[in-house]
């Protein structure tokens, strides 16, 4: 018997609930952080090479920008990941608390972003 349900789902037409967006953003930030590893290692190596290369990094505006995006992605990934660890412990599984913790993750990431922006510029 043929299944009468739709054979494909158009992801862009489905309004995803907030916890689903938190989940996919956790995944995307994770992939971006993975791709950033060689850049970070390269920068870290340059920072330890000599006082001159250290100074050159401190003076470059692109370092601040890179550091900003790196730290925001890292903070978000850490906070959302912490939420998943708590979910693993069956903590906050109800719809209400899952939505609340999602907002908490977004709120704390926003706070980190603002503090970081103030500190860097």
């Amino acid at each position: 018997m043929k299944n009468p349900r739709p054979v494909y789902l158009d992801l862009l037409r489905i309004r995803q609930p907030l916890p689903a967006l938190i989940s996919i953003a956790h995944r995307i930030s994770g992939v971006l952080l993975f791709l950033a590893i060689p850049l970070v290692l390269n920068t870290w190596q340059a920072s330890l090479e000599s006082p001159e290369s250290f100074r050159a990094l401190q003076d470059s505006p692109s370092l601040n920008l890179g550091l900003f995006f790196l730290c925001v992605a890292y903070a978000y990934h850490l906070l959302a990941g912490l939420r998943f660890l708590l979910l693993d412990l069956h903590w906050g599984l109800t719809l209400k608390s899952a939505r609340f913790s999602s907002w908490l993750v977004l709120g704390s990431t926003a706070l980190c972003t603002v503090l970081l922006g103030i500190w860097l510029w």
Partner: protein, 116 residues
């Protein structure tokens, strides 16, 4: 007939656990490093160099890096398993990921023990 997918299915729990244990290790190091940076403003080269000359810092930095690489491996593997359906391409990308992470690990050791 049972058709086994390439990759098997015996390591799921171990990797799941490795992902979570490594996730628990990293925040402690991150916050300590953040604390160091915040208490050394403006940062001088000697502070930064001295930090990584410390043997304990080297050990915990390596622990952090290895946790990160294990964590990244499980995460990237999950992503590849979810989205790359052609086995040959998935295995090629997984092999490339492992190779990259091994190079990163050796790179980390080189940097840490190259600090003079």
């Amino acid at each position: 007939m049972v058709r086994r997918a390439i990759g098997g299915a015996h390591y799921g729990l171990r990797d799941w656990l490795a992902q979570r244990l490594s996730a628990l290790i990293m925040p402690g190091y991150s916050l300590t490093l953040l604390g160091f940076v915040l208490t050394h403003q403006p940062m001088h080269y000697t502070d930064w160099q001295g930090l990584f000359q410390n043997q304990a810092v080297r050990f915990f930095t390596l622990l952090f890096a290895l946790s990160l690489f294990v964590h990244a491996w499980v995460g990237v593997r999950d992503v590849l398993m979810d989205y790359v359906r052609a086995s040959w391409l998935r295995l090629a990308l997984q092999a490339a990921t492992i190779a990259a992470l091994l190079v990163y690990a050796m790179w980390t050791v080189t940097i840490l023990w190259g600090v003079r």
